[in-house]
C-alpha cells in the first residue's frame, strides 16, 4: 500500500503513539485486503463500548490511547453501552458501573459523540448522516450493511478497532466495498416463499450470511414491502452469521444461485432456538425505532404483556417516544423501555434469574444463547404480542 509522506511519518510515530498505532492497524488491514492507498472518510461509528464485551483489557486500551490528548478527526458516533444510565438495576454491580463510566470517559476524551446506538442510520438517532456516495467507516455490523445497502454510503464491514483507527486518522484502506466495481453480487439467493414478517427476514439474513460473500443478491423480495423493522432484522442477522457487508435486492447476473425455501427458514430457526417458550420477552437488537415502538402499542391495542417485556432503543428515540406518550403506554402495558443499551451481551439478563427468553431478533437469539447462556424461543413481534398479552 502506498502511503503519503504524512502517513509514513504518522506510522513512524512522529504524531504520537496513538496515531502510530492507528496507522499500524490500517496498514495491516490494507495489506490484507490489498488496498493501494488510504482514502478520506467523513464519518466513523465505533463499537466496543459495553464493558461486558470489551472487559478490563478494552478499558485499559481505551484509557491508554486517550491519554495523549488526541481527538478523532471526523465526526464519530458510538455503539450502545452496557446499561441504561436512567434506569440502573440492582443486577448491575458498582464495579460494572465504575468501569463502564471509565470507558465512556475515555471515548469522550477522544471527542466521540455518545449516541449509544446500534442504529446510527436512523435519522431520529443521528441526523447528520453524510450524503449518498460518501466514504464512511462503520463498525457495528448491522449498521455497515444498512449503510451500504440502503443509504448508498461506502464502508467495509469494519471492526471496532479499524473504525476507531479510521476515526483517529480520518482515513480507511481503499478496497473491497469502498470500490464501486466491487459492489456487485456473484451469488444470489432466490427467495421461494412468501416472506411475511421481520422474523422471516432475520432467518433469511442468517442463512445468507453463512454463504460468506462480501456482497449478496436477494431475489424475490419487493423493495416497497420492506419495512424498517424488516430491513433491520435482515441486516443484523446477515451481520451476525457472516462477513457480508452489503446486499442487493436484484438478481441481475449472479451465476451462483441458492434457493431459500420455507424449509430453509425453519432449519435456521431450529438451529438458533432451543425453547418453546420463555420467561421474558426481548425486543431489540437492533434497538427499536419510533415506528417499531408505535407498532407495538398499536398491536397491543390496550392489552398488557403477561410477562416482563424488555424493549431496547436509543436515548434520542426514548426522548421522542416519551414526548409522544409511547413510553407511558408501553410501561402501562408491563413493558420496560431501556435506552442507550441493547440486548447484545447485556448484563441485564442473567442465567441466574432467567431460563429462557422469547424474541423476534435473530441477532439477540444468537448472542443471548452463546453469551448469556439462556434458552431462546423465536417468534415474530406480532405473534409474541398476540400470544403474550391479555
Amino acid at each position: 500500500m502506498q502511503l503519503s509522506r504524512y502517513e509514513e511519518e504518522a506510522l513512524d510515530g512522529k504524531y504520537g503513539d496513538t496515531v502510530a498505532l492507528a496507522y499500524r492497524v490500517l496498514v495491516a488491514i490494507g495489506n490484507a485486503i490489498e488496498a493501494d492507498r488510504l482514502i478520506d472518510i467523513s464519518w466513523a461509528h465505533v463499537s466496543g463500548v459495553n464493558y461486558n464485551t470489551i472487559g478490563d483489557a478494552g478499558l485499559r486500551f481505551l484509557e491508554d490511547i486517550s491519554r495523549e490528548g488526541i481527538k478523532v478527526k471526523v465526526k464519530t458516533t458510538l455503539n450502545p453501552m452496557g446499561y441504561d444510565r436512567g434506569r440502573i438495576e440492582p443486577i448491575i454491580s458498582d464495579t460494572f458501573i465504575e468501569r463502564q463510566e471509565r470507558i465512556l470517559d475515555a471515548y469522550s476524551r477522544l471527542g466521540v459523540t455518545g449516541i449509544h446506538s446500534c442504529t446510527p442510520y436512523d435519522r431520529d438517532v443521528f441526523p447528520d448522516i453524510p450524503p449518498t456516495g460518501s466514504q464512511v467507516s462503520l463498525a457495528e455490523s448491522n449498521a455497515a450493511i444498512y449503510a451500504n445497502s440502503m443509504l448508498g454510503l461506502l464502508t467495509n464491514k469494519e471492526s471496532a478497532i479499524s473504525a476507531l483507527a479510521s476515526a483517529i486518522t480520518g482515513k480507511a484502506p481503499y478496497s473491497n466495498l469502498r470500490l464501486q466495481e466491487r459492489r456487485y453480487a456473484k451469488v444470489c439467493i432466490d427467495v421461494r416463499y412468501d416472506i411475511k414478517d421481520e422474523l422471516d427476514y432475520g432467518l433469511l439474513g442468517y442463512y445468507a450470511g453463512k454463504l460468506n460473500e462480501e456482497c449478496i443478491a436477494l431475489n424475490g423480495i419487493e423493495y416497497d414491502r420492506l419495512t424498517s423493522a424488516d430491513t433491520k432484522a435482515l441486516c443484523s442477522a446477515l451481520g451476525t452469521s457472516g462477513s457480508t457487508g452489503m446486499f442487493i435486492l436484484k438478481s441481475i447476473d449472479a451465476k451462483e444461485r441458492h434457493p431459500f425455501d420455507r424449509s430453509d427458514a425453519i432449519k435456521v430457526k431450529d438451529e438458533l432456538s432451543d425453547a418453546d417458550d420463555g420467561d421474558i420477552i426481548v425486543f431489540g437488537s437492533p434497538q427499536l425505532g419510533l415506528d417499531e415502538l408505535s407498532s407495538i402499542i398499536d398491536r397491543l391495542n390496550g392489552r398488557r404483556f403477561k410477562k416482563r417485556c424488555m424493549i431496547f432503543c436509543a436515548r434520542s428515540v426514548y426522548s421522542k417516544a416519551s414526548r409522544l406518550g409511547y413510553i407511558d403506554a408501553l410501561e402501562k402495558a408491563n413493558a420496560t423501555v431501556y435506552s442507550g443499551c441493547c440486548s447484545c451481551l447485556t448484563p441485564l439478563i442473567s442465567k441466574a434469574s432467567v431460563d429462557s427468553v422469547i424474541t423476534n431478533s435473530v441477532k439477540a437469539a444468537y448472542y443471548l444463547r452463546s453469551w448469556n447462556k439462556v434458552g431462546v424461543c423465536m417468534r415474530s413481534m406480532r405473534s409474541i404480542i398476540d400470544s403474550e398479552s391479555v
Partner: protein, 155 residues
C-alpha cells in the same frame, strides 16, 4: 521459540502481521464469530466446530472471522491475559476483524494458505467433518509470518 524439527512439509502463505509462532494446530473449517470466545479462550458458539474448545496457546487455523465487529477485543483481551492463540492462520484472505485484532495484539497472522494444509492437520488426514468436539490438537505447526511459511513440526 522453535522446539520440534520440521518434517519438511511447508506451505506458502502471505504474512499480514509479522512474527514467529509455534503450537498445536487448532482447525475450524468454518468461520468463527470471535465475540463468542470467552475470557479463557473457549468458543461458546454452539454452531461452531470448535464449540467448547479453547483457542489459547494454539495456532488457530480457520477461514476468516465473521459476525461481531467487537470480536477484535476478545482476541486482544486474551493476549493481555496470556491466553491468546500463539498465531493465527486464515485459510482464505484475512478479514478486517482478524487483521485488526492481530495488529493490536501483536499476534503473528498469515493468510491464503489454501485447503491443502487441512489434511495434514488431523490424524493423518482423517475427515475433519467427523471430528467435531474432539481434540484436534495433534499436529504442531510453526508459523513464520515474516517469510509467509507454515511448516509442520515433528515432536
Amino acid at each position: 521459540m522453535s522446539h520440534g524439527k520440521s518434517n519438511g512439509k511447508e506451505y506458502r502463505c502471505r504474512g499480514i502481521v509479522g512474527g514467529y509462532a509455534e503450537g498445536f494446530a487448532l482447525l475450524s473449517k468454518e468461520p468463527i464469530n470471535l465475540l463468542t470466545i470467552d475470557s479463557d479462550g473457549v468458543v461458546n458458539d454452539h454452531t461452531s466446530m470448535l464449540y467448547g474448545m479453547s483457542i489459547s496457546g494454539a495456532i488457530l487455523i480457520f477461514p476468516n472471522a465473521i459476525g461481531s465487529s467487537v470480536g477484535v477485543y476478545r482476541l486482544y483481551a486474551l493476549k493481555v491475559n496470556n491466553k491468546a492463540p500463539s498465531g493465527i492462520v486464515c485459510i482464505n484472505t484475512a478479514d478486517i476483524i482478524t487483521a485488526s485484532a492481530a495488529a493490536i495484539s501483536s499476534i503473528p497472522l498469515v493468510d491464503r494458505v489454501g485447503d491443502a494444509i487441512i489434511g495434514e492437520l488431523v490424524y493423518g488426514g482423517a475427515d475433519a467433518e467427523a471430528m467435531t468436539n474432539v481434540d484436534l490438537r495433534v499436529t504442531r505447526v510453526r508459523v513464520d509470518a515474516y517469510a509467509g511459511i507454515i511448516s509442520i513440526v515433528d515432536d
